[in-house]
Amino acid sequence: MGTAIKDNSKIRPNANELLHSKLGVLELKTPLTVASGTFDLENLEFFDPACLGAFVCKTITRLPKKGNPPPRLYETEAGLLNSIGLQNPGLDAFIAEKLPVYQEQLRMPLIVSVSGSSIAEFAEMIETLETCAGISGYEINISCPNVENEGIAFGVSSEIVYKLVHRLSALTQRELCIKLSPNVSDIAEIAQAAEAGKASSIALINSIYGMAIDYRTGRSRIKKGIAGYTGIGIKPVALALTHKTAQAVNIPILAMGGIYTWQDALEFIWAGASAIAIGTANFINPLAAPELIMGLGKFLLEQQLSISEIKGKAVI
């Protein structure tokens, strides 16, 4: 850096400038969002929403989904097992009842998470949502471990991911973020397929297959047996997959998986994430989001570094 620039840098940027980030077509006031299915308006009672850069809602499907039988939850030594099974009221009820409330109450970009059982159904849902105002983007959930997609295992085939994303990207100018599964042999290949299909960003990771059994009785702690594992115990896995994916694609990454604190967030940003989300941490610490942004802002200010300056700069 030349001395001229050094002189300019005396006008120290403030935390707001340092926290600014971009996810595809979206400008984010902070790099922090929330993981689908772990956060809703109720959480916004606990803190000032200004710490969030975007809001991702629970995944919706074309038709209402009852979800899986209980018990659906079990806390392990280092995380959470869940088997919600994408319970949701369906697209029509979402548009009629939930969306208006979001439009009224949210003061930040809304990303709608959608899941479908076929490429045609996904496309139909996006077409419908395109007619609605107040939506900034879509998170395409092809990675829920708790439902069997009728016919196609979307998330594990790069060919199908390419076809799906290619179809959807033609339908929208809004943010198109593809949420990947960690339960694959090669996540980079799937991410590249999404990029080739013109996704504007990648989200990862969704839950990992996990299980717990009552050692006394042999009864599965979760009714359906295999469930989705999330929380601090999956952080090393999520970080490895974030790094791998960041090496493989040029589109931005929204990373999640075991992020509880600002230190965790920094690890993912160093590894290549443009934005990060907290999921299970919302259950563990109701103030996880504002505390994360406070800590992250303070660190960036002290170091005089911006998100874009450290993004993907991990030293290996």
Binding site: E42, P70, P71, R72
Partner: protein
């Protein structure tokens, strides 16, 4: 206060009950005005979270605990130590901080001029204490409580223990029909373990008596966002998974699809 709020409050008083049961009292006027019988708080020992931040240990979920008593702001929780979360709570002493999210859930519907049977089992006792205080002036109440042994039972009108160590010998539902007839009961409230509630529900259904149950469920968020606590509610042909923490914990016993639980 429509949605649950997050607070940290100092324990004002801690009382020992029998065995693994203890009482924690906090003071909060606003919460005192808000909480209804049958509602609960998601609580956690703040110490356990602090531990984890200092020593790198992993913090754990909040646990749902009913409002046991509410004296206009003097709020009591009656807790049984059964596992990790309640063990952390059991370490708390006066002056320690309790984390609270709530009040959560719907609470019991309140009536007047009824002949009421309260049926509780084990740790189903606390919400009933608050409930009977709410009902006592305008209803007749008979309260049956059962537990495994002497340490699991508390003051009420009729006590049952499974080991016969005190009160009547057997399960509390065993005495329900008799009392329903004797006191001409026309309304039942119950809270306790699932199998007990299912038996109680069968009895009330057979006799055609209105019956509200407060259900237990494993919770993650405790505020309605994760759908983890859902139970099947509705008619045999038309039911949905409703959230114990939001649409519940109190449901009409008739609408609970016990056969799916």
């Amino acid at each position: 206060m429509n949605n649950p709020q997050y607070r940290q409050r100092a324990i004002q008083l801690r009382e020992e009950l029998s065995d693994d049961y203890f009482l924690l009292w906090i003071w909060d006027e606003a919460l005192g005005a808000a909480g209804k019988a049958g509602q609960f708080y998601d609580v956690r020992a703040l110490a356990s979270l602090k531990d984890s931040q200092n020593a790198g240990k992993i913090p754990k979920l909040f646990k749902p605990i009913s409002i046991y008593d509410n004296q206009g702001g003097r709020i009591g929780f009656m807790i049984k130590k059964v596992g990790e979360g309640t063990a952390a709570l059991s370490e708390l002493r006066a002056g320690d901080l309790l984390e609270l999210i709530g009040p959560a859930g719907n609470g019991f519907p309140i009536f007047q001029g009824k002949r009421i049977l309260l049926v509780s089992g084990g740790i189903g006792y606390p919400p009933m204490w608050y409930l009977q205080k709410e009902l006592i002036n305008h209803n007749q109440i008979y309260w049956m409580h059962g537990g495994a042994r002497q340490g699991d039972v508390f003051p009420c009108d009729e006590i049952w223990t499974e080991d016969g160590s005190i009160g009547r010998h057997g399960r509390v539902c065993g005495g329900m029909r008799e009392n329903i007839q004797k006191y001409d009961i026309d309304l039942i409230y119950s809270c306790g373990p699932m199998p007990m509630l299912a038996s109680a529900a069968q009895i009330s259904q057979e006799l055609g008596i209105e019956h509200y149950v407060s259900l237990e469920s494993y919770m993650a968020c405790g505020i309605g966002v994760c759908h983890g606590c859902a139970v099947p509610i509705g008619t045999k042909d038309d039911w949905d998974y409703l959230r114990v923490c939001k649409e519940g914990p109190v449901f009409n016993a008739e609408e609970v699809r016990w056969e799916l639980l």
